[in-house]
């Protein structure tokens, strides 16, 4: 016979189970690297709410850039989504809506251009260069680039599909072509690679935490995490200059403001922000 007590006990259990399931669903959702959650809808809509997709290496610089842009354009609000350029490119190709795209290489931007997703021709706004990073205390005692080919090291780089990962492979190629490294250099170094990350900040994170003995990232990342990393310079002869293009997107609902942001990044004010973070100005 059903009694009142049955319901008294069951309801909290039921609610508890539903709460657990909802939390489970929330917890199991795939991670969005460095994604800034969309701001809650304000009661009065701002004049222009821009969404900018930018490479992870631009995180610090563009956060400042956005704040400055909002100051100079009252009523504008800029939200960023930082991730590996290849991730952002895929999202845009699959229909994600954004107003501006800033990539860490021309390959991903050109891909969008060939699919007519750009509002206008992309413009180069910054350059970057590679460095080898090691944990601050440098427990493995890596002093020179040649040390990277030592056996038993744990090296972390980005996946070849990520701009910085591709640049790293190119740099290793250049080193292998030089007699001071030996033709097997790249192969030996790659044997010590234990993980291929999906964006440059993940590489920096693994090295900063001391999980990896060394990694290859941008000089701007080394500067941003100077308190946790020691840098080993890569000479110009072996280095790769990363080219960062920016463009307003065809699907933008506010093309004028989007173009204003692009222009701002290229303006002396915008370039000063980038220089502060260690980017080589255009």
């Amino acid at each position: 016979m059903i009694q009142k007590e049955d319901f008294v006990i069951q309801t909290p259990k039921l609610l508890g189970s539903i709460a657990c399931l909802l939390l489970l669903l929330a917890a199991c959702s795939s991670p969005a690297p460095n994604r800034v959650p969309p701001s809650a809808a304000p009661t009065t809509a701002p004049a222009a709410h821009l969404t900018v997709f930018a490479a992870s290496s631009l995180t610090g610089a563009f956060n400042d850039m956005g704040a400055l842009f909002e100051q100079k354009h009252p009523g504008a609000k800029v939200t960023f989504s930082f991730a590996g350029s290849q991730d952002l490119r895929t999202q845009l190709e699959q229909g994600a809506r954004a107003d501006v795209f800033a990539s860490a290489d021309t390959k991903n931007m050109d891909s969008l251009k060939s699919e007519n997703l750009l509002d206008s021709n992309p413009r180069v706004f910054a350059h970057n260069r590679l460095v080898v990073i090691v944990p601050k205390s440098n427990p493995s005692g890596i002093k020179t680039l040649q040390d990277l080919s030592r056996p038993g090291l744990k090296i972390v780089i980005a996946d070849a599909s990520v701009p910085v990962g591709n640049y790293a492979l190119q740099a290793l190629d250049k080193m292998s072509a030089d007699s001071s490294f030996g033709a097997n250099f790249k192969e030996t170094v790659l044997k010590s690679v234990v993980s291929k990350e999906t964006n440059v900040k993940a590489v920096v994170s693994k090295v900063s935490l001391g999980e990896a003995d060394a990694g290859i990232a941008y000089s701007t990342d080394a500067q941003a995490s100077a308190d946790k990393l020691t840098t080993i310079e890569i000479p110009d002869a072996f280095n790769v200059i990363a080219t960062y293009p920016i463009a307003a997107l065809e699907t933008s609902s506010m093309p004028t403001t989007a173009q204003e942001f692009v222009d701002f990044v290229l303006s002396p004010d915008g370039q000063a922000v980038l220089a502060k973070y260690g980017f080589v100005a255009e």
Binding site: C20, C28, D87, D159, S161, V194
Partner: protein, 245 residues
Amino acid sequence: MVFLTLPLISIFVRALPALDQGASAASTLDALQLSLVTASISALLSMLIGTPVAYMLARETFPGKTLVDTLIDLPMVLPPAVAGLALLMTFGRRGLLGPALSSIGIELPFTTVAVVMAQTFVAAPFYIRAAKAGFGAVDRKLEQMSAVLGVSDLRTFFRVTVPLAGPALFGGALMTWARALGEFGATIMFAGNFQGRTQTMPLAIYIGLETNLESALTLSMLLILVSFGILAAVRLVSPKGLMLG
């Protein structure tokens, strides 16, 4: 309903034409093998560790039991990235146990063992919950009768309790296996991403989106089929459904 099924159908629509290319890609086969092996080991490990724990939670009362209960459920609702970070902070080189392990030559991050650890951490609670419910539902009188007949406690456990709780244990094991198979966040943080060693199916799909869409689609299709199969099997074995209570 449409919202739930349409994305699944879309995968099939895009994956089938790409099946030939996707199925033969080395990254697909490596990920498939790694996932199947690690998920199975994780499920077995969960059962090994989880069965005594579940039995204790179902039968005994002790001070702090509610706390233990909650802690065991925690990995189920914890965002996987948090789980990954926690594992790193414990077993990483500079983690709580890191230096001690290093001194005896054990370095866990970036290894296949790390994959199993990440999977077991997030998936074991599923088994423990189901097993606890299963053991709790066994008629104690039957166990008592077995004792009266002179059967030892251990034999009673294996010959009476376990068979009676069987459907719940099996269902729990399947759900654990499925959760382990789908684990991403904790894996990529603690074990990293390296084909053949730590790049499980979910990681291969994530990476494959940019470089090898055919591989990503094939793996996605396989995961959907496997998940569907598991749910069907659990339905058949445990008609009362998944006991999460």
